[in-house]
């Protein structure tokens, strides 16, 4: 039960299908849908763990006001997944705890 997805898509993306990589894992998506929507379809439907208690969080508002879906996208950190459409080959890294400064 714990690993069942929370959401599913009603149609097959067909020609709009793309592959994105969540923490390096290939995942099917539909071009133009948001990163947050794709995250919510995964068996582990969370998007980050918090800097304070490292508890998991998932997309909550889908309209850019809760910031629970902050992820690293193609190397750029703290991007709002609900406002970012997926593209073929996109790399999505979920933030784990406190973010560290990197080059």
């Amino acid at each position: 039960m714990k690993d069942a997805s929370m959401f599913h898509k009603l149609h097959d993306p067909g020609l709009s299908a793309v592959t994105v990589y969540i923490d390096g894992q290939a995942v099917a998506a539909e071009a133009g849908e948001s990163v947050a929507a794709v995250l919510l379809r995964q068996p582990a439907g969370w998007s980050r763990t918090t800097p304070i208690s490292e508890s998991p969080r998932a997309p909550y508002c889908m309209m850019g006001v809760c910031f629970e879906c902050l992820v690293e996208i193609d190397g750029k950190g703290s991007v709002q997944g609900c406002l970012t459409p997926v593209r073929e080959g996109m790399s999505i890294i979920r933030h784990m705890g406190v973010r560290r400064l990197s080059a």
């Binding site: 039960m1 714990k2 069942a4 997805s5 929370m6 959401f7 599913h8 898509k9 009603l10 149609h11 539909e30 133009g32 849908e33 948001s34 929507a37 919510l40 379809r41 439907g45 969370w46 918090t50 304070i52 208690s53 508890s55 998991p56 969080r57 998932a58 997309p59 909550y60 508002c61 889908m62 309209m63 850019g64 006001v65 809760c66 910031f67 629970e68 902050l70 750029k76 950190g77 703290s78 709002q80 609900c82 406002l83 459409p85």
Partner: protein, 467 residues
Amino acid sequence: MNGGHSDVLIVGAGPAGMAAAVSAAGLGLSVRVIDDQVAPGGQIWRGIEAVAASPRLARLGDAYGEGVSRAAAFRVCGALYEPQSQLWQIEPGFRAFVTRDGEARVFTATAVILATGAQERPVPFPGWTLPGVLTAGAAQILLKTADQVPEKPVWIAGCGPLPLLYMTQLLAAGGSIAGFLDTTPRGRMGAALRHLPGGLRRLGDLVKGLSWSRALQRQGFPIIRQVTELRAEGEGRLQRLSYRTANGRGDSVPAEVLLVHEGIVPNIHAPLALGCDIRWHEGQHCYVPVLDEWGEASQANVFIVGDGAGIGGMEACEPRGRLAALRLAARMQKLGEAAADAAARKERAALSRALALRPLLDTLYAPRPQVFAPADETLVCRCEEVTAGELRSRAVQGQPGPNQIKAFTRAGMGPCQGRQCGYTVAHILAAAQNRSVEDVGFYRIRPPLKPVTLGELASLDEQETAA
């Protein structure tokens, strides 16, 4: 550094922003529209262009379908449209700092129309931060933009038109509902019906709302009335949902997705950043900007339209947007004062009709008191994980306001900048200090309104050096 100048900069491409843009551009003003999203429509018509071409349009309902023609008119109106542009600072002058595709730009304008809409009212309760707890609006956006529904029968808790609409749309799409926990308190209908005479001007909407309710009742899923308390539990994600009603009844049920909704409140971050005056709206339990009859704020040449002006619903958005455009066109000598006044009379009549049902809806669906007084263990500030109990104990050490509480506890200091905790913090302080919420006030809003990277800031500097 300058991304360009326009007579008018419109922030937001929802119904109000699009109407303002079409009207202002039509009157001969140069217009630039910046918006968070990939395509026009705002939240109400989210994803409308993509859905328009699919069979999904019909099952999302007529009001959604109205967005097709609006988005098409907006696309050809002549306004410069900048989608996927995140506004992170706006200052008098006017200068708007925006990030698009990882690059920061500054747009300047003579006037600003803020059409930044509303957000769902934060509904804190124990466990509301668990994955699997989302807002009903979030689920509706998932349906509109990704054709995506909860895997298992879903629990929905709250009140207002949106849960009813979402449940109707979800069932039409083939989804299923585990139960509806209606949080509307007892006696609300009687109080609301006092506003019926005014609301009769919107009889069609009343009938539509009642027909949704009836159709949902026929579906046979449990509807539990007068729910006062919610609790979400689980290891790493929602697994159990507990609730209690006004008469002390309660239950605990397995749940994987819980959708909550207790109405919507205007987005006031951009108006506050510009120093616009706000006032407490007793009927809507939120702050609204102080505006004149054209929608102009206390700062000259700042107009606020759409639900950001005070919750008015979709049909109030377009007249408000056009009123702002008319005023600016007259001020910039594109239109005579008399012509602007004549056109404005028509828009104000439409606005008055659109708002006729509001007092009834505001009364019927006013948030239950528990929304503003969560249990001590509840995380009020999701970002910095500050509990209601900690806020309450700090609230009586002196008489701190929201900004002191922020410094003491970090509540409101995370990436959401108080969007999820501002109202709860204000209510907790007000209750503990025996003050009114209006007297307590709200967080001071400082830039950046959204996270911005050093790289983005650096890109701004490079452009400045080159210019």
